[in-house]
C-alpha cells in the first residue's frame, strides 16, 4: 500500500529557534492563529522531534545551539524536511560574520527549502512549507536505509588498503 500521499495531509511541525531575534518565531506563531490557521492543512506544532516531519529552523546557528540543532535533526525519523525560515537561517542575515554565530543552518544540516525575508511573512512561511511538502512526498524509503559496507580491507604489499570500502556509497 502506498501511503506517501498521506504525508502532505498531516505534516507535523517542529520549530527550533537556533538563536533568532524572535521576529521569525512570532511569524510562525501567527501562522497558527485564526487568520492563517495552518491547522486546516492538518499541520500541528508538535514540539516533539520523534513525531514530526518538518523542521522549521529560525535564526543563525549560534555556537551554543549548533549541537542541539544537529541532535534534534538526528532525532527526527525519516522522511523529514528542513525549512530554513528567514534571512538568518538561510544565510546568517544581519548576524552574518559575528563572533558568536556561523551563519546559515545549511552549514550543519541539509536544508530543503529556504524562506527569505527578515521577519518572513506568514504567507511566505506557508508557501515554503507547501514546497517542503512536495519534497517530502518525493522522499523515498531508500533514503532512510542504512548503508552496509560489505567490502573488506585488502592487504597488498604488507599494507592494509581501505580505499575501496566506501566506494559503494553513492
Amino acid at each position: 500500500m502506498n501511503l506517501s500521499g498521506y504525508r502532505k495531509k498531516s505534516p507535523w511541525i517542529l520549530h527550533y529557534n537556533a538563536g533568532s531575534c524572535n521576529g521569525c518565531d512570532i511569524e510562525i506563531l501567527a501562522c497558527l492563529g485564526p487568520k492563517y490557521d495552518i491547522e486546516r492543512f492538518g499541520m500541528i506544532n508538535t514540539g516533539n522531534p520523534k513525531q514530526s516531519d518538518i523542521l522549521l529552523v529560525t535564526g543563525p546557528v549560534t555556537k551554543r545551539s549548533r549541537e542541539r540543532l544537529v541532535e534534534i535533526y538526528a532525532q527526527m525519523p525519516e522522511p523529514k524536511v528542513v525549512i530554513a525560515c528567514g534571512a538568518c537561517a538561510s544565510t546568517g542575515g544581519v548576524f552574518r560574520g559575528m563572533y558568536n554565530c556561523e551563519g546559515g543552518v545549511d552549514q550543519y544540516i541539509p536544508v530543503d527549502v529556504y524562506v527569505c525575508g527578515c521577519g518572513t511573512r506568514p504567507e511566505q512561511i506557508i508557501d515554503g512549507v507547501v514546497q517542503g511538502l512536495a519534497i517530502l512526498e518525493q522522499k523515498t524509503k531508500e533514503l532512510e536505509a542504512s548503508v552496509k559496507l560489505n567490502n573488506e580491507a585488502i592487504e597488498e604489499n604488507h599494507q592494509v588498503n581501505r580505499r575501496h570500502i566506501a566506494a559503494s556509497i553513492k
Binding site: 501511503l3 506517501s4 498521506y6 504525508r7 495531509k9 498531516s10 507535523w12 492563529g33 485564526p34 490557521d37 491547522e39 486546516r40 492543512f41 492538518g42 508538535t46 514540539g47 516533539n48 520523534k50 513525531q51 516531519d53 532525532q75 525519523p77 525519516e78 522522511p79 532512510e144
Partner: protein, 279 residues
C-alpha cells in the same frame, strides 16, 4: 441478543468512532477559536502518515508496553460495553494507564519521567471518584454490572446527579483537557508519557487516545440507563462542556488539580453515595 451484537459491533468499531469523535472535536475546538480547523478525517490521515514513518524504538520493552497499553484499554472498553463488572473495568483502565506510565519510566528521557509522574498523579486524582461512582451505582442497582445500569428503566442521572457532576469534573483530567492537562502539557513536557514513541508505535498510543474518548462517553451513557435519547443529550452536553472548558481555561498545576479533584469532585461523589445509601 441484539444488544450483544450491538455491543460487539461497537467494540470493533470503537477506534473508528473514537477517531471520528477526535476529528470532530478538533473542528469544534477550532471553530470556537474562530479558525476553520482540520478536515474531519484528519486523525486518520495522521494515522496513515505515522504508519509510513521510520520507527525509532528506544528499546523493545518500551514499544511493547505502548502496544499493551492500547490492547488493555480496548479490553477495558470491551468489558464496559458488554456490561461487565464496573470495578473490573476501572481496574483494567488503571492497568492500561499503568502500562503507559511504566513505559515512560523505562526510558532515560527527563520529560518522559516528568510526564509519567504527572500521569500517576492524575490517576490519583480521578480514580477514587470513579470508584465511588461505581459504588453508588451498586447501591442503586444492587450490582456492579454495567449492564444493570444500561438496562435500568429509570435513568441513574435522576438518582445520582451529584455523581454526574463529579464525573464531569474529573473527565477533563482523564481526557487531558485544559485546566487539568498537566500530564500531557505540550508546552512544558511536550506530551509527557508519549514523548519517546515514534512511527507505528506512537500510533498505538495515539489510537488509545481515541479509545479513551469512547470509554468516557460510554461512562456518560451509564447515567442514562435504557433511555438512549437522554444518553445522546448528555453526551452532546458533555462534548460541548469539555471543549468550552478546554478553550477557555488555563492549566493549573498538579497540586491544585489534586486538591480540587479530591476536595470537590471526590466530596461531591461521596455526598451522593451517602444520600443514596441513606435513602
Amino acid at each position: 441478543m441484539t444488544n450483544m451484537y450491538i455491543s460487539i459491533i461497537l467494540i470493533i468499531a470503537a477506534p473508528l468512532i473514537g477517531g471520528l469523535l477526535y476529528g470532530f472535536e478538533r473542528i469544534v475546538k477550532a471553530r470556537m477559536q474562530r479558525r476553520i480547523g482540520p478536515p474531519l478525517l484528519q486523525p486518520f490521515y495522521d494515522f496513515f502518515k505515522l504508519a509510513d514513518k521510520r520507527k525509532m524504538v528506544v528499546h523493545s520493552a518500551h514499544a511493547f508496553l505502548g502496544i499493551m497499553h492500547f490492547i488493555s484499554l480496548w479490553f477495558a472498553l470491551a468489558v464496559l460495553l458488554l456490561g461487565g463488572d464496573l470495578i473490573l473495568v476501572i481496574f483494567l483502565h488503571l492497568l492500561s494507564s499503568a502500562l503507559l506510565i511504566l513505559s515512560a519510566y523505562s526510558t532515560r528521557s527527563v520529560f518522559s519521567h516528568l510526564g509519567a509522574n504527572r500521569s500517576a498523579i492524575s490517576i490519583l486524582a480521578y480514580e477514587p471518584v470513579l470508584i465511588i461512582i461505581a459504588v453508588s451505582i451498586f447501591m442503586l442497582t444492587g450490582s456492579f454490572e454495567a449492564g444493570a445500569a444500561f438496562s435500568s428503566n429509570q435513568p441513574l442521572l435522576y438518582k445520582m446527579p451529584l455523581a454526574f457532576v463529579a464525573l464531569l469534573l474529573v473527565l477533563p483530567i482523564k481526557l487531558k483537557k485544559s485546566p487539568f492537562d498537566v500530564a500531557e502539557a505540550h508546552q512544558e513536557v511536550t506530551g509527557g508519557v508519549e514523548l519517546e514513541f515514534s512511527g507505528i508505535f506512537y500510533e498505538a498510543v495515539y489510537t488509545a487516545k481515541w479509545l479513551d474518548y469512547v470509554f468516557c462517553y460510554t461512562l456518560i451513557f451509564l447515567f442514562a440507563g435504557s433511555n438512549l435519547l437522554l444518553g445522546f443529550a448528555l453526551s452532546i452536553f458533555t462534548f460541548i462542556y469539555l471543549n468550552a472548558l478546554d478553550n477557555s481555561t488555563a492549566r493549573v498545576n498538579y497540586k491544585q488539580m489534586l486538591r480540587f479533584s479530591l476536595g470537590v469532585s471526590f466530596s461531591l461523589a461521596f455526598i451522593n453515595l451517602l444520600i443514596n445509601s441513606l435513602s
